[in-house]
């Protein structure tokens, strides 16, 4: 179940599914692996590509806030397989024009490729991607929340199936590589949108929650347009709001080093 994450959640497409507002309870699926891979496809691989403007608000324990704003572009190489991301920063002003490019690889044995462009130093740099559980630009979202956690990293088991959700427990196969003990995800039975993820530490204490707070249907795709992560240890929260969401915009191959210094029109808006 990877999923989650938010940023990609936006790209959920729904074609085959009936819209989320269908009042009829859908048929119950009993194979947990089907559910997680469905949710994964839904969450990360809808349409051929997509674009959104993201506003991040980080609020600390004392109520002080920091903002980030960026354009995110995504294009799939293959459904359920490799895909590319392009993140172009608008705010804060002094990091404007900073760019991340990510080539995500579905092969669990292959690290993602990541590049960074820092306009202030006019520097292009590769980032070693050993660990995906680092903060995404200082927010409470982790890199892996944004790009998706590989399904094969965890074993999945049902906790329960409620009227609305499949609730699934995910246990890491290599616990030493992550800071959590396990996490649960509640997947909407109608549209397979992951609505809530809860992370537990090694002592099974809940410490981190990601919620999809607002889902809208855009171009026929149920899309999470507002999500919130709360770190219960630090009391910090990060809200992500998506605007200008568009799917199937026909992105060219802008995910290469040469576009770091010269952002494509789609990224500049």
């Amino acid at each position: 179940m990877k999923l989650l994450t938010v940023v990609t959640i936006i790209f959920i497409s729904s074609s085959a599914l009936i819209a989320a507002d269908d009042p009829n309870t859908p048929e119950k699926i009993t194979d947990v692996n089907i559910i997680v891979s469905k949710a994964n496809i839904m969450a990360y691989y809808q349409g051929d590509d997509g674009k959104a403007r993201v506003k991040m608000t980080i609020t600390d324990r004392r109520g002080q806030t920091r903002n980030r704003e960026f354009i995110i572009l995504r294009k799939d190489v293959e459904d359920g397989g490799d895909q590319n991301y392009y993140v172009y920063f608008l705010k804060p002003a002094d990091v404007r024009e900073m760019v991340f490019i990510v080539h995500k690889h579905a092969d669990i044995n292959r690290d993602d490729d990541r590049w960074l462009y820092l306009p202030g130093l006019d520097l292009v740099k590769r980032i070693a991607a050993g660990d995906k559980r680092t903060s995404f630009v200082g927010s409470d979202f982790l890199y892996e929340d944004v790009s998706g956690r590989n399904l094969e990293e965890d074993t999945h088991e049902f906790i329960e199936t409620t009227e609305q959700y499949y609730v699934i427990k995910n246990i890491p196969k290599k616990p030493e590589t992550v800071e959590f003990g396990y996490f649960t995800v509640a997947i909407d039975r109608c549209n397979f949108v992951p609505m809530k993820m809860e992370f537990y530490d090694r002592n099974s204490k809940l410490y981190r929650v990601i919620e999809s707070q607002k889902v809208e249907t855009i171009q026929g795709f149920p899309t999470v347009v507002k999500s919130l992560v709360s770190d219960l240890n630090t009391g910090s929260k990060t809200e992500m709001e998506f605007s200008g969401v568009q799917y199937n915009i026909g992105l060219g191959d802008v995910f290469t080093e040469r576009y770091l210094r010269r952002p494509p029109d789609e990224a500049r808006k």
Binding site: D60, P92, D94, V95, L118, A128, D131, R133, G138, N233
Partner: protein
């Protein structure tokens, strides 16, 4: 004075009632003791709205700073120090254990207290920023799990050593030891955490040594151990005092009475203090130590005299009435002056000192009441039969004379050698005054533990290897007055601490501090920027620099936030980059060293102009300590001067003579001058315990002086000559004083074995105060009396109202003016110069008033009326 006879008579007659009343009173107040609230936080020496404390708390909130427990791990057996798989796995385990030390608060809902897990600094909680593959920057945990091989362990060390943010902080400068920094939500949990960590460590085998220290641990542990020590030391001192009294008076039953008085005074005073809702603070926990000797002293005077005068024929009631007749007045005077002296501490603007002063005064008066009522009653409770063979009269002649002989010789010497004695005293005083000018005011709570204590050892050991276990924080921000201008001029204003010039400035300040040798290590946002910049470029040392533009700085910082611990940045700078915090690690927590750092920073700021005007403020316990300790030490000093004046005024009024008052002050003055002089000459730090204990002189030296002088006066009235009276004085009264000196001086010596330094100080002080004030009273006072005999014992003056003596009135007025000035100075922070002017105006006014008063018609009438005995 019929009151004194009435009291003695009543107590002798209704002895059972007196004993019962005392019992009831003691039990009633003792029943309040279970309500005890303990507050061992020395920060509370400052009132909560003190500006330093407000800023300290603000800085802690703004930068998410916490008080820190430091755990050092050293391995001297392994050639790689702790960087071997076994040691690192224990360090890992200990870190994981520390993470679990949190609890939900009982006081506030939804609040976790304990170790702040996310801010722990340990090998397994920090990031390594370095080079990945060629041209790659890499963020990774320094140690995700304990290494399996020596090579892996060494690699962890090399990575940590390559990060200037970690070197000297997390890993020792020599790369052999590791320090964990455990931030606490509340520092009063330190002892609890300290104990749990020690328990955990006890389960580890291995060659490592573990050291736990840090100011919060020291302060909190001191608070706990102080109470334990009180429970051991006080009874032990009482036992020795008891044995000594038994040695002198040989009558077990009789000797019990001073013990009862001491216990009753201590219990009821503490009961009242607690009952009135005051927390027992470090200061007030000292009250028993003060009250015990003071209350024992009065009853020893009585016992001593009773011992001397008792004969079968007079019987116990006859003897005790005679004794009380001699002693009632001096005991009343000593108790009143001592109580007034301590009560005047209530005028100091330091909350714990006020409570302390008031309740010692209360205790002294309680002790007095019980001494004059219960001791006679107690004597009556003993059957006449059991007093057989009691008393000086019954003791073998040879034995009795040893002490008596020495004292008699001394007495003669003071008469014949008065001038040399005073010359020597003057000389010694001069040397002592020189010593006082060399006194070093310095304190450090960690040094309240003896060198063998684990906390002190940890302090010594860790500060050898690391940047320092004492934390101070220097917060920089733009001066408010300059802020508006800047925003007006450029609307595109960048945040202050992304400007390369500002970071260079911060860096320069850090280098300056490092070079001064006072600061072991400092971390700032400038260090973060340099490290990230270095690794972004190519990892080479020459790129450990601040980039040239603000956006470049901001982008480096954004990269730092893409690590596992992005929030670490916010300990060093605020979100808007308008305020920066420099985290200083000091290897010494001495006030003097911290003050030097403060001065060094002041110098730097005056010599180096920043880009925009900056204000800087200090936070952190090491700094807070310098503030309260200074305030405390100087506050105590001033209060002590105030008490000194009060005592003088009291004595002058009681004796109705400024000259007698002055002479009474001699033992007190000389004792304190000599003690301070020795402290100055010996180079011992003048610290909080010393400051507090000086006040004890009030209770002891005054007692001896009054006893001696009051009885000398009565005796001289009778005999008409000092030569004859001196002989009398060096009999029973001198023996009583000597016995007191010995009982208390020796009685408190067991405190020298305590593991807490302030207790040792108490032991030394008791001994020195008793010895000095005893010697001064028995040698210097008689010498002075001899030389001033004519003035002192001139025929009785006819003055009924003190106001009629112009000179007396003047001196008292002047003393009062100074006293008022002292207190005004403390309260309203008036400059001394302004007060000097006020005093200069006030004193002539007083002169006039005194002149007028002493020439009143009433006074003339009285002096015409002729001789009428005052007493």
């Amino acid at each position: 004075m019929d009151f004194k006879r009435a009291t003695a008579d009543y107590s002798v007659k209704h002895y059972k009632l007196v004993a019962a009343v005392m019992m009831v009173f003691t039990l009633a107040t003792a029943s309040l003791i279970p309500l005890i609230k303990v507050d061992t936080d020395p920060e509370n020496m400052l009132s909560p709205d003190e500006s330093v404390r407000l800023f300290h708390n603000q800085a802690k909130a703004e930068f998410s700073l916490y008080d820190i427990v430091v755990v050092g791990i050293v391995n001297n057996k392994n050639p790689d120090g702790v960087f071997n798989p076994q040691s690192l796995s224990r360090i890992y385990e200990l870190t994981e254990f520390a993470r679990t030390l949190t609890w939900s608060s009982e006081k506030e809902e939804n609040r976790q207290i304990g170790v702040v897990g996310v801010d722990i600094l340990a090998p397994s909680t920090v990031d390594h920023i370095g080079q990945g593959g060629p041209g790659e920057i890499k963020f990774e945990w320094l140690m995700t799990r304990p290494p399996d091989t020596r090579d892996e362990a060494i690699e962890i060390r090399n990575k940590a050593m390559s990060n200037p943010l970690l070197k000297g902080t997390l890993v020792s400068e020599d790369g052999r030891a590791v320090c964990l920094y455990l931030p606490l939500t509340d520092k009063d949990l330190s002892y609890r955490i300290y104990t749990l960590l020690r328990d955990k460590i006890a389960t580890f085998g291995g060659d490592e040594q573990y050291y736990i220290t840090g100011l919060p641990v020291a302060e909190d542990t001191f608070g706990v151990e102080m109470f334990i020590q009180m429970a051991i030391s006080a009874p032990l001192a009482m036992l020795v005092v008891f044995l000594l009294m038994l040695f002198f008076f040989r009558k077990l039953l009789l000797v019990v009475s001073p013990m009862i008085i001491a216990i009753v005074s201590v219990i009821s005073t503490m009961g009242l203090l607690i009952g009135f809702g005051f927390p027992v603070h470090i200061m007030s926990s000292m009250i028993p130590i003060f009250l015990m000797p003071i209350s024992v002293v009065d009853s020893v005077h009585i016992l001593s005299e009773f011992f001397e005068l008792y004969t079968r024929e007079k019987g116990r009631d006859g003897t005790i009435k005679e004794v009380m007749g001699h002693l009632f007045t001096p005991m009343l005077y000593t108790s009143l002056t001592t109580a007034a002296g301590f009560a005047s501490l209530a005028l100091t603007p330091i909350p714990p000192v006020q409570v302390f002063g008031v309740f010692v005064a209360v205790g002294v008066m309680i002790a007095w009441v019980f001494t004059v009522t219960f001791v006679p009653a107690y004597v009556m409770l003993i059957s006449e039969k059991s007093l057989e063979n009691f008393g000086q009269a019954a003791v073998h002649v040879e034995k009795q004379s040893r002490l008596a002989k020495i004292l008699r010789t001394t007495g003669q010497f003071t008469y014949t050698g008065a001038k040399p004695i005073l010359a020597v005293a003057a000389l010694i005083t001069a040397v002592a005054v020189y010593g006082i000018t060399r006194i070093q005011v310095n304190d450090n709570p960690v040094k309240w533990f003896s060198k063998r204590h684990p906390i002190r050892q940890a302090d010594i050991e860790l500060n050898k290897h690391f940047g320092g276990t004492y934390m101070a924080y220097l917060v920089l921000e733009q001066s408010p007055e300059s802020k508006t201008n800047i925003t007006d001029e450029s609307e595109d204003a960048e945040s202050l601490f992304t400007k390369p010039e500002m970071l260079e400035y911060v860096s320069k300040l850090q280098d300056y501090l490092k070079q001064s040798g006072l600061v072991g290590k400092s971390n700032s946002v400038a260090d973060v920027v340099k490290k990230v910049h270095q690794e972004l470029i190519d990892g080479k040392p020459e790129n450990y620099i601040i980039p040239r533009t603000a956006p470049a700085v901001a982008q480096c910082l954004m990269q730092f936030q893409s690590s596992h611990n992005p929030d670490d940045l916010w300990h060093l700078v605020t979100y808007d980059y308008d305020k920066a915090n420099i985290w200083l690690q000091l290897t010494s927590g001495d006030n003097q060293d911290m003050e030097k750092v403060v001065r060094t920073v002041d110098t730097f700021f005056t010599q180096n102009k920043p880009l925009v005007p900056l204000t800087y403020n200090w936070a952190g316990l090491t700094y807070i300590n310098t503030v309260w300790q200074d305030k405390m030490v100087f506050g105590m000093l001033q209060s002590f001067l105030g008490s000194f004046l009060i005592v003088f005024i009291m004595m002058a009024v009681l004796f109705r003579s400024a000259l007698w008052g002055l002479i009474c002050m001699v033992p007190l003055t000389l004792t304190i001058v000599l003690i301070y002089g020795v402290i100055g000459l010996a180079g011992k730090d003048y610290d909080m315990p010393v400051a507090v204990l000086s006040a004890l002189t009030l209770g002891m030296a005054v007692d001896f002086a009054i006893h001696f002088l009051e009885r000398a006066r009565v005796s001289c009235d009778r005999t008409g000559s000092w030569q004859t009276s001196a002989g009398e004085m060096f009999a029973e009264p001198a023996r009583a004083i000597t016995r007191n000196v010995l009982v208390i001086a020796i009685g408190f010596l067991p405190l020298l074995a305590a593991p807490l330094v302030p207790y040792k100080t108490v032991g030394v002080f008791m001994c020195v105060i008793m010895a000095l004030s005893g010697i001064v009273t028995l040698i210097v006072l008689p010498a002075i009396i001899k030389l001033t005999e004519k003035t002192l014992f001139k025929p009785k003056q006819t003055v009924v109202s003190p106001g009629c003596n112009c000179g007396f009135c003047l001196i008292i007025s002047a003393a009062t003016v100074v006293l008022v000035a002292l207190n005004l100075h403390q309260y309203w922070h008036l400059g001394l110069t302004r007060l000097t002017w006020l005093s200069i105006i006030t004193i002539p006014v007083m002169v006039l008033v005194c002149g007028v008063m002493s020439r009143r018609q009433v006074c003339k009438n009285i002096s015409k009326e002729g001789k009428r005995g005052v007493k």
